[in-house]
Assembly symmetry: C3
């Protein structure tokens, strides 16, 4: 299926600069653009590619001002990134929907499963689970006892959801993720450890996306909570009784230790570690691989191990680089002072 | 089901302070305590909540001395944390046990499976596997050829155990964990790598708990060993030929490279990395996100990257913070010395 | 089955030193060597064990010169590590091959599956997938729509491959790994995030090995690519549109953020983090736990957070250790200078 630049501009409420009749049938990255494809420019790092890209159409932000000749037709839009997202969603939604319940699926008699659902092969739904309308459970998923899943949620292959957990509506959970495994709680007892039963659950609110092979542990008591609109990447560890605030975004391989509360609208880099029992405010930015040992105030930007304000981290990094020089300066000063003492004595 | 403070105190061999007839039917966290629930105070960080909690009963340590008015009934016990653990276990054990073999499970004719077992849907037990009494294999588990699993062990959904591995009795392995994948061994050969076959296995001793989506690789030769009573959290990587000592506790996302031996009764934080071929002594404490490049003596407390004794790390952190100041001091000293030299020359 | 030292030496084109008729039936590690087993010495750290090992035969490099009495028969070979690898492969290949298609497997009518394949229980192959000759799909694997898998590739239990991904020939993918989950892409929109559909795929070239519970995300547009011969360990995160070069080796728990390109023949330690949108050259060595925020030139050796040339890291580490001393020296200098000023004034 092909579309003209004009058709796309109309759909995106954008403005065509160049040949409005050029047609595209696919999308591409700007650095790999081929004729017959549409691409976009959002990240300024990639601006230089616009002068050489082979793509037929480039979506650009309304404030983009060319500094040279561009072969492609441009479509100016309010936000190039949002616009490409809209187009990608169109392509994605054009795919036929998964439907129906595979005959191999095992569904407990007491489970509530609507007709509108997709359930793939070898998926198992345990006693008293309640599944919402239009939910998609891919193959080999496990839904434990009393679990509830809200409407339109998509659960990819091999996800395991332990008993009593609650998944909201319009969520996406990627393959291999484990929701509701026991929190890591043990009491020392005569040189060994006794397990502390974890009788709480996990509550995932609406519009949450969780990547592949992540682990969200159930609470000891009460709930581990992922609030509305939060986005968690792959291989993330969320320990028992943690709370992740709404619209907070967390990159891959980050870990949050037990009972810590992370606020809303935070942006957390990859491989970050949070200590347990701390509170992180709202709109906090934390750089990749940082270690967060203590409470963090709202609107902070932190980086490092242990994390400090980002500016301080940059300064320390420079200072550490200059340490050999500093050491040398001090050694020279020692000699100078020795010489001065000697000279003074001789006077 | 409800219990009075007196009944609970009798069960825990504790002492009631306040209304012995108040009843509770559930547990809660102290900061979220509601009437009709029991909570506990073990971590001193939470002490202030005891004066405001809505919970009807609070378990406290025998040495707890109130510094204000407390509305709740207290039960004084030897160890509040152990006591709440006992109560949570009671609640947990009150649940009906999973039993029986699901008709969809595929069990090799040569596998030994006792009547007392639970085997969930879509679990696959390969040739010559031997499963102990009262073992629970949740749905979608894979038990490879010649694997043996000791009595009372619980294997959660989707765990994969490769051939020849040995799992002890009374172990718990959480969903998605992989036991016995090949160690990461390759020999460079003409600019590419040749795989080194990994013909060893994994041996997990008794009373071990392993979290979700962890990976314990098989040995090249011999065994990768997790000793009795060790507790491993989620997303932990244990490489080939590693040995983890008895009653050692390791937090999430830590990785141990090949052939390293970690002693017994160690406490290892999250996201720690151990180099390969090193030996870590007994009762070693390692802070979160540390990097351990070399051997570690017993009874050490380490922190940092590369890890140093915890005090040294704290001191270095302070020193690094003060570097700009130090730099300034040195610059001033240089000027002073220059001035002195000048003055001396002028005399 | 037993072999004499002479038989093994002939097979490996090696030279026997000692009793050529001694027989072995198994392999062991040098520090745990038992009579009747063969071991090897490749890592110089283990040299001292050769004088005490109980193994009957030890493979050594041709240039090994004993510095004491050795009880075992030696076999001198060009490369002891390669030779043991050859022997381990022999042992491994002696095992009966997995064959046939389990009756429980669900295979779409439109999927192309040759007779030579092994498909384990509860494996699901979706519409239009194309599987090559001699492929092994262990139990509980998911192969999505339009996926293609090249000949001789082995996919271990529970691997999940999303639609449209391409897996080369002679690859090994370990249990629990997820190929082709959505890249982590969201556009901020009125205080929340809109998902950006990820319509690209993952391409894994030939002779690639990927460990257990790793995650390789599909591209937003185009492909995430793992080039020929690359070896990735367990729990590794590869984000959307990343490219990993040929014959690059990456240790466990490392993460590569979106659109980053890592060159060929690199050696990357465990728990390393790469920022997004950077280019790492060929033959780059990066130490464990490093953070790579920027482009890296070919043939670099980096270490640290943020990573610096390895020598610089070593120097900085020493400098940081000496900071308290430096601080003290500076304080003494201040006093000295003060004294000198005083003395000068008094003259």
């Amino acid at each position: 299926m092909e579309f003209t630049a004009q058709q796309i501009a109309d759909f995106l409420q954008g403005e065509v600069i160049g040949d409005a009749q050029v047609k595209v049938g696919n999308v591409s990255k700007i650095e790999e653009g081929r004729p017959g494809t549409l691409t976009f420019l959002a990240n300024p790092k990639y601006t230089h590619y616009i002068y050489t890209t082979g793509a037929s159409i480039v979506l650009v932000n309304r404030d983009f001002e060319p500094e040279g000749k561009i072969a492609a037709t441009l479509i100016r839009v309010e936000n190039a990134y949002s616009s490409i997202a809209q187009l990608l969603n169109l392509v994605s939604q054009a795919r036929p929907e998964k439907k129906g319940i595979d005959s191999t699926a095992v569904i407990a008699a007491s489970a509530a499963v609507p007709q509108s659902i997709y359930i793939g092969a070898f998926t198992c739904i345990d006693e008293n689970a309640r599944i919402g309308e239009n939910v998609k459970l891919y193959p080999q998923v496990y839904v434990g006892e009393n679990v509830s899943i809200g409407e339109n949620t998509v659960i990819y292959p091999g996800v395991k959801i332990y008993r009593d957990c609650v998944i909201g509506s319009n969520c996406i959970i990627h393959a291999g993720t484990v929701i509701g495994a026991d929190g890591f709680g043990f009491a020392p007892h005569n040189g060994s450890y006794e397990k502390i039963a974890q009788i709480g659950n996990v509550v995932i609110e609406d519009f949450v996306e969780i990547g592949a092979n992540a682990t969200i542990d159930r609470a000891t008591m009460g709930s581990t909570v992922i609030r509305q609109g939060a986005k968690l990447d792959n291989l993330i560890q969320v320990a028992h009784n943690v709370e992740v605030g709404s619209h907070t975004v967390i990159a891959a391989q980050t870990g949050i230790a037990g009972s810590t509360k992370v606020g809303s609208h935070c942006m957390i880099g990859g491989q970050v570690g949070f200590a347990g029992h701390i509170t992180v405010g709202d709109r906090v930015n934390i750089g990749a691989q940082s270690g967060i040992p203590n409470h963090v105030k709202s609107d902070s930007t932190l980086l490092g191990y242990p994390a400090v304000p980002a500016r301080e981290f940059a300064r320390s990094t420079v200072m550490i680089k200059r340490l050999p020089e500093l050491q040398k300066t001090v050694a020279e000063l020692q000699k100078e002072v020795e010489r001065l003492k000697q000279q003074l004595k001789e006077k």
